[in-house]
């Protein structure tokens, strides 16, 4: 694995102010971008790059630049259209309903140069039909009941016509990309998959299943949108620091496992979203571990039990220590500079303060060369100041990824406890089964797979280190595994043969015997 330097052609005006988190994890992991939105951003990149003839191909590392769709007509109709209810309530003739609605819409539609929706009258028999279709799209929207601004709401990705980027539409009608919810995590995801070993297979499946054979409802979305609208400029600046990483391959393998299931593409999406969330969390922990030179992080999972247990405490501890890893890594990453020969040269030079400032500037994009105050601070203090500054920034978003995403995908929970811990939900368990079990697998092997692949510690065999160190009894963890067995059985994912033997089964590969 090669760790890449910051690209020199990087020239976004509003780019990162310091280059620490980005250097470790990429530009960037962002807590406010939920796994679902990450997946959508990914599809946008994929579509744009496929149109440009280079789906999942990086011409050179970190050179991604793509032009996404905006589809503002569609979004106005579905998410910025409070008039339908009003017009229906007036209960006028169809003709009048259309006229009244078109007038209202012309006033309030945002981000369009000429908001004229008259074309819709040809495409629908009646206004009520139109209203029903809009209601349907609102009902199936992604995270549809969120209270985000209308320009950050998304229709279900039935096909290419329903894909568009997150934007900010100003009151004066201007459209800007503020990267509020499409904060490049989808670009990171895209780059990871580009750099995975099985990218060829992935390309075929992804393009085939999501872009070339859309669900019939994509036609409906197209009827509303008409011709596609594209962003005015290309979106560049994505950065992922590793040229390859075991985490990328694991991610790609998980995706392939899900995409090869005999289920429709849209049914695969929730599973893809969940494994993506899990893999990105693990990527963050893996990289943190690499920077710190520590062992791979393990995630002790409690299978929720009615009573407080030792595993619950260990699981909360494990959550807490993992949650602190990224910030420790960030600090270590900065302080490692002081162990380099360049640092030694710089601090022993005559103009130590300035040399050190230059050195830090090259590595972390800080301090500002024009800021004379910062350039006259003693080296050790300057480093401290950088660490503090980076920590403040880290805590805003990158440092929250583990917490936010673990909750979003159902990996962590506070159920019947005050401390957050790893306690996977039924849905996540199902995703794990669907991903890891090709057809069927012995329960013991399943536990070993989860530990080997993701570091999820559930059973007593995997928890050896905790048992040997006296922090838990074997029984605590074997009870935990037994609870998982029961949960999986009740989810229809496990078949128990007798006391000592059970099979985890992939529900989609079982044939008709449900």
């Amino acid at each position: 694995m090669e760790v890449l330097a910051r690209p020199t052609h990087f020239e976004e005006r509003s780019g990162p102010e310091i280059w620490v988190d980005e250097a470790i994890w990429g530009h960037r992991l962002h807590d406010e971008q939920s796994p679902w939105l990450t997946f959508l951003e990914f599809l946008n990149v994929l579509l744009a790059e496929k149109v440009a003839g280079r789906a999942l191909q990086e011409t050179s590392l970190n050179s991604l630049s793509y032009r996404p769709q905006t589809q503002l007509r569609l979004r106005n109709l579905v998410f910025n259209n409070p008039h339908i209810t009003t017009v229906l309530a007036e209960d006028r003739s169809d003709e009048l309903a259309w006229t009244s609605w078109l007038e209202k819409m012309a006033d309030t539609a945002g981000g369009l140069e000429s908001p004229d929706f008259a074309y819709l009258r040809d495409r629908f028999e009646t206004f009520r039909d139109f209203a029903a279709v809009i209601r349907f799209l609102q009902g199936s929207a992604i995270e549809g009941d969120s209270n985000k601004r209308w320009s950050s709401k998304f229709v279900f990705p039935f096909g290419p016509n329903g894909l568009y980027e997150d934007v900010n539409v100003k009151v004066n009608g201007g459209v800007t990309t503020d990267r509020r919810f499409f904060a490049r995590t989808g670009e990171i995801l895209y780059l990871m998959l580009c750099r995975s070993q099985r990218v060829e297979e992935l390309r075929e499946r992804l393009v085939g299943q999501f872009l070339q054979n859309p669900a019939p409802y994509d036609g409906m979305v197209r009827a509303l949108q008409g011709e596609a609208q594209l962003a005015k400029a290309d979106r560049g600046g994505a950065f992922l620091p590793c040229s390859s990483h075991p985490a990328f391959d694991r991610l790609a393998e998980d995706w392939l496992a899900i995409l090869s299931l005999p289920i429709p593409a849209y049914d695969a999406i929730p599973h893809l979203v969940a494994v993506t969330g899990l893999n990105l969390i693990l990527y963050q922990l893996d990289r943190a571990g690499e920077v710190l030179g520590s062992e791979r992080a393990s995630l002790v999972c409690e299978i929720v039990s009615p009573k407080k247990s030792v595993v619950r405490d260990l699981s909360a501890d494990s959550y807490q220590s993992n949650n602190a890893l990224p910030q420790q890594a960030m600090e270590r990453f900065i302080r490692a500079t002081t162990e380099t020969s360049q640092w030694q040269t710089a601090i022993t030079s005559d103009d130590a303060a300035i040399e050190v400032a230059e050195l830090l500037k090259r590595a972390f994009d800080w301090p500002d060369p024009d800021d004379d105050d910062e350039r006259s601070i003693p080296p050790e203090e300057l480093i401290d100041r950088l660490v503090n500054k980076a920590a403040v920034r880290h805590k805003q978003h990158v440092g929250k990824v583990h917490m936010t995403w673990a909750r979003a995908i159902g990996l962590s929970s506070r159920r019947s406890s005050r401390r957050v811990r790893y306690a996977p939900t039924d849905r996540l368990l199902k995703t794990l089964v669907v991903t890891c079990v090709a057809k069927r697998m012995e329960f013991k092997d399943f536990l070993a797979t989860l530990a080997g692949r993701y570091g999820l510690i559930i059973g007593d065999h995997q928890a050896r280190s905790f048992i040997d160190s006296g922090n838990a009894d074997q029984e605590d963890f074997s009870d935990n595994a037994r609870r998982l067995e029961e949960r999986l059985a009740s989810l229809g994912l496990l078949k128990r043969l007798s006391d000592s033997c059970a099979y985890v089964e992939n529900p989609f590969q079982r044939g008709e015997a449900a």
Partner: protein, 586 residues
């Protein structure tokens, strides 16, 4: 291991052994003494009677009992021209021994000319482990694939492997319960109680429990309800091996918290009776392991499974009113006499009447929780004693978490007897399915409303109509409840005439039945665990695939160019789902 020590114990104590029907014996004997025997594997949970089967086959085919009792791990017997190899417990073999054996089995089962057949017994996990531990040759792999298929799915595609697998854990345990009660309750050893002073005074809880268990003196309900519980549990996948049933029955008779290990012996009885704690020996408590410490009962199999019914914790207002106020409330006096006072042994005991009085009158220092424990025992008793004519009035099954279990059992019984089903059952199932399928409170119960969300199948609301499928037979469509080969029943949806496209079926376990019943009554699907909800959605996905195939066959899938027709579900004022067509020109 058990079988061997039991044989020794029998000899030592000179007790007549309990003889139970062995369900596969006939088939095994016919196979091995027939013209074309195949290798047999007997598997099952610990305590299902695997060793018992092997020993019986051995003796029936002329094997010498003394040779068997030497306990050799691998026994051979000449049957006609062939050699029968019996391994009563595969797990006893060391890995290298079993490797050799399995290699032999793998070779012989694929050769019709082979003169060696086997009878192997092992529980599931051991069987698979031994197969895994054997050297990895193509033959062994083929054998283990077939065994795995037989174990998990009950069938295999590889018909050339001459092997049959009998799974004792699929035996009907409800019937077995009855045999065991008869055998234990009617054992000649009870004659020893004649002349015991406790028996004369009618005060011995052991004898009282035996009477209640065997159904003497009008106590027949206990066996019947216990059998129902066992059957429901089996239908839900909670199997009762013979050994567990034996220990359950023994515990029912002998359980008392004051005895050693929670079991009383004849010597304990005078003290228990004298201390006025005989009511704690109640069969209705013992059946749930309440004579044991809670931590122990939680980990002991038969009680674990029976306690899932929540009997004692679940109740209805009517039942609790009767039990709490019945003694004083004139409106309840008649049923209270019949249901509580009539049973001085475990019903209106001195403890209970005093506790009840103290609870109602309150006052300082009254331990209310003590009465709640007594109340729990009474609910349990009522569940096992309520006469049939009061089942409806007191909603017997409200005393369990499976409120629809009564209907479930009735449907199963009527289907088995080919009698007309209770009318409400199918309507209830259809209404429940419709509500899960659409995510709306629809009232349709004479047609199946097959809906899709348009997006991913797991989404909660499905506003688009796929098809309406008629419940009464019409144009090839039909929705019905039918028996399945496993002994339970399925809901079957038939979409076309003829046999080419078999009906799409969903097994209705008591849990699923309960889920659909409650949803049909108005509960929200999401208020249950995901389990059932997901099952029903998976069933819907299968139905959707079938309707799509049907449309293709009928040529209904081709629309006009550039047109997309959607059918939205609209609810009428009385809550029926009706389709509404919307056309979109692209």
């Amino acid at each position: 291991m058990y079988d061997e020590s039991i044989q020794r114990a029998l000899k030592r104590h000179r007790i007549k052994p309990i003889v139970l029907p062995a369900q596969f014996m006939q088939a095994l004997l016919e196979n091995f003494s027939g013209a074309d025997p195949v290798t047999q594997i007997i598997t099952g949970t610990a305590g299902d009677g695997k060793t018992y089967h092997c020993r019986e086959v051995w003796s029936a085919l002329g094997g010498d009992e003394a040779t068997w009792n030497k306990g050799t791990k691998v026994q051979t017997l000449a049957v006609g021209q062939r050699t029968l190899v019996i391994v009563k417990d595969l797990s006893e073999l060391r890995d290298e021994e079993s490797a050799e054996l399995i290699a032999g089995v793998a070779r012989d089962v694929t050769q019709p000319s082979s003169n060696t057949v086997y009878l192997l017994a092992a529980n599931h996990g051991q069987l698979l482990e031994k197969l895994k531990a054997a050297p990895d040759t193509p033959e062994v792999r083929r054998l283990s694939d077939v065994v795995e298929d037989l174990l998990v799915t009950g069938g295999t595609d590889d018909r050339e492997v001459r092997l049959n697998l009998s799974d004792l854990s699929r035996a009907p345990a409800a019937k077995m319960t009855s045999y065991i009660i008869d055998e234990i309750g009617g054992h000649e050893g009870w004659a020893g109680c004649d002349g015991c002073p406790a028996a004369r005074d009618q005060a011995c809880p052991i004898l009282e429990n035996r009477r209640r268990l065997t159904g003497a003196d009008g106590h027949g309900k206990f066996r019947q309800r216990l059998a129902s519980l066992v059957e429901l549990s089996e239908r839900n996948g909670g199997h009762f091996p013979v050994r567990q049933l034996l220990s359950l029955v023994a515990n029912v008779i002998l359980g008392h918290p004051d005895g050693r290990d929670g079991l009383m012996s004849c010597g304990d009885v005078p003290d228990i009776v004298a201390s006025g704690r005989a009511d704690l020996a109640s069969v209705y408590r013992n059946v749930f392991g309440e004579n044991l410490k809670p931590s122990r009962a939680e980990k002991t199999e038969p009680f674990k499974k029976l306690n899932l019914f929540g009997i004692g914790a679940e109740t209805s207002n009517r039942v609790d009113n009767l039990l709490v106020y019945g003694a004083d409330d004139p409106a309840y006096s008649e049923p209270y006499d019949a249901l509580v006072r009539k049973d001085p042994f475990y019903g209106a005991t001195a403890n209970y009447t005093q506790g009840q009085k103290a609870y109602l009158e309150g006052g300082e220092g009254v331990d209310r929780s003590a009465f709640l424990h007594l109340l729990k025992a009474q609910r349990q008793r009522l569940f096992f004693t309520l006469p049939d004519d009061l089942v409806a009035a007191y909603e017997l099954w409200d005393l369990t978490v499976f409120r629809f279990a009564g209907v479930y059992l009735e449907v199963a019984e009527k289907l088995g007897a080919k009698q007309p089903l209770p009318r409400a059952a199918l309507s209830m199932i259809v209404r429940g399915l419709n509500r899960v399928f659409t995510g709306m409170l629809v009232q349709n119960q004479d047609e199946l409303v097959l809906a899709t969300s348009g997006s991913y199948s797991q989404s909660k609301r499905s506003p688009l109509l796929d098809e309406l499928i008629s419940v009464p037979r019409q144009g090839g469509e039909e929705v019905s409840l039918v028996l399945n080969p496993q002994g339970g029943f399925d809901v079957a949806v038939r979409l076309t005439r003829g046999e080419i496209h078999p009906a799409v079926r969903l097994e209705l376990s008591p849990t699923r039945f309960e889920f659909l019943g409650r949803v049909a009554e108005g509960a929200l699907p999401s208020s249950f665990s995901l389990e059932c909800h997901e099952d029903i959605l998976a069933f819907k996905a299968r139905l959707l695939r079938e309707t799509e195939t049907r449309r293709k066959l009928d040529g209904d899938d081709v629309g006009e160019d550039g047109q997309l027709v959607l059918r939205f579900i609209e609810l009428t004022n009385d809550g029926r789902a009706t389709p509404r067509r919307v056309m979109v020109r692209a």
